[in-house]
Amino acid sequence: MDFFLQLLVNGLSIGLLYGLSAMGFVMIFKSSSVLNFAHGELLAIGAFIFLVLTSWAHVPILLSFLITLAGCFVLGFLVERIFLRPLIGEHLIFVIMLTVGLAAMFKGLLLFIFGGNLHTYPDFLPDGLALHMGAVYVPPVYVASSCIGIVFLTLFGLFFKFSSQGIFMRSVADNQTAAMSLGVHVKKVFALSWAIAALVAGMSGIVLGIINGTNVHEISAIGLKVFPVVILGGLDSIGGAIIGGIIIGLLETFTGGYISPSLKDVVPYIILVFILLIKPYGLFGLVEIERV
């Protein structure tokens, strides 16, 4: 029973991380319907900027957190402006291949600068954050990441619900032509959503780095795990991304714990195929009825 509970807690925490990582992905898809294969690299960039600031430049933690977020914001903006904007209206494969190419570029750059080794942050979280519930132990990083996740989820919920930019973004996601004719600056919305998505990705990257250390290969692998998560949750639902992440995280840890550790990494993709065959728009996705 203790084993089960520990797996449950681990699964929930990993799932929350997947959900957090998927949030930025969904945001890009929601407003510009771009399937971003470079998402894992965006996560890694966030994690590495934070690494440089904290352990190499010794900037205070809170300040370096803010600088990382700002840097990612600018990066996302630039990526959209330079690479994605010329492709508005182009065929799907070009957009997909462009993000694949970007992923290779970013990954190559990161490997060139940091190498493929594991880097760790200095330990800065107080031990008091850890939770002991009977035999179950929740390390402080998981508690902190859960808090960050909940805070950001609430912030974005409010942003999309009430702020004018958030409403613009939702309108573009819903119907690009109609939004344009009503005076929404669609390109600005795209740029903003990439910038915000990169910011969220950077934040998730930092959390991932705190938990596992930062390693280019591992973080970009998590970028691909995002796909089962968002398909399960629905490609255009931010809440769905979190719930999908938690479900995938739980399934992964339980498979790893009870069936076989090697099956752990492929289980999300097996589930992915079944979801696509049975319910392609996921749990909370917007259903566009189109029979092929």
């Binding site: 399937l35 291949m97 694949v100 750059l109 990161l110 490997l111 195929v273």
Partner: protein
């Protein structure tokens, strides 16, 4: 004898047969013959063993890229699992040759058929999904196949890999790079011819109709699902065929090369070469294989100059960067790929001195 047509001065097609002709002019036919002669009789004798090895790798890649171009460029179904299909072909060939004792000439096409079956299984989602959902489904297929290759140890021997017997055709041993050159390029020429003709039949036209507008295609009586499956089957057949030749050529195979990176490389070939263009797939294969070799050469040169080995290791990362950069630049500046560049060059020559 009919009059030879050397130089078209406009678009004067008087029969449908002219519209369907493979060569617009006899000039093209002449260059084709010269090219083939140079390929088979000059190139293998004029180049050293390393260059022949590169040529062989290019030829194998070109066969698989042609297959992927049928799927992506002609049918419009984006697949991220081509590398895995290539791997299935390699393993099918290896297992048929070692366990069942199939000879080379039988094992290669048989591996193609096995891969076609596997490709059809992973093409089934295309019945309900299209566009990016299908892309994600094939991504899942890539990971699932990779897992099966590594973990079905009784069949694939897992990470240990399989060593293949030497290839031979009709009692003749094919061992040297040059012998493989002839096998690979005769296969490539045959497959290119088959592909060109396939695209002129009703199957090819149905593929293009599905790509351009699937609803209209269905309205015109094309059974979409079966044609999509057929497209998956043909494309995987090519991948499996190429994979099996590759397995025989490299003698021993492991599961490592058939990862997502390989699938991305094949898509890059198709995109950089030119979507929906048969010469494009070959150009793309030449470009990507060439780029890989040049980057490897540069990396090795830096390593040998002794600038510290860790720096040299990092240059492997720069290879990945250059690869990504090539994809991005082509998509931004010449999305129709090398085939379009080639067309522009040709028409510039043809219209000289009045080209603009």
């Amino acid at each position: 004898m009919r009059k030879l047509q050397m130089h078209p001065c406009g678009n004067y097609k008087e029969h449908y047969s002219r519209e369907l002709a493979i060569f617009e002019t006899d000039f093209g036919r002449l260059w084709m013959c010269i090219g083939l002669i140079a390929l088979f009789f000059v190139l293998p004798f004029a180049s050293g063993p390393y260059f022949i090895y590169v040529l062989n790798m290019t030829g194998i890649a070109a066969i698989a890229a042609l297959g992927l171009n049928i799927l992506i460029g002609f049918t419009g179904q984006i697949s991220l699992g081509h590398g895995a299909f290539f791997g299935v072909g390699a393993y099918a060939g290896a297992i048929l040759a070692t366990r069942l004792g199939f000879p080379f000439w039988l094992a290669v096409p048989a591996a193609g058929f096995v891969t076609a079956l596997v490709g059809m299984i992973f093409g089934i989602p295309s019945g309900r999904l299209k566009g990016l959902y299908l892309t994600i489904a094939t991504l899942a297929g890539q990971f699932i196949i990779e897992y099966i290759l590594v973990h079905w140890e009784s069949l694939t021997q897992g990470t240990m890999g399989i060593t293949l017997p030497a290839a031979s055709i009709f009692g003749m041993e094919i061992a040297s790079d040059r012998a493989f050159f002839y096998v690979i390029y005769i296969c490539l020429a045959a497959i290119t011819l088959i592909t060109v003709n396939l695209m002129r039949t009703r199957f090819g036209r149905a593929f293009v109709a599905i790509r351009d507008n699937d609803r209209a295609a269905e309205g015109m009586g094309i059974p979409i699902f079966s044609y999509k499956l057929l497209s998956f089957a043909i494309s995987s057949f090519y991948a499996g065929f190429a994979g099996a030749i590759w397995a025989f050529y490299s003698i021993s195979i492991t599961t490592e090369p058939f990862n997502l990176g390989m699938s991305v490389e094949y898509i890059a070939m198709v995109v950089i070469g030119g979507l929906g263009s048969i010469p494009g797939a070959i150009f793309g294969a030449v470009f990507i294989t060439g780029l890989n070799e040049i980057l490897r050469f540069v990396t090795d040169a830096f390593m040998n100059m002794g600038i510290s080995t860790s720096f040299g290791l990092n240059l492997a990362a720069l290879r990945e960067f250059a690869f990504g950069l090539a994809i991005v630049l082509f998509i931004l500046f010449e999305p129709k790929g090398l085939a379009e560049i080639w067309r522009i060059i040709r028409s510039n020559f043809r219209l000289w001195p009045f080209s603009y």
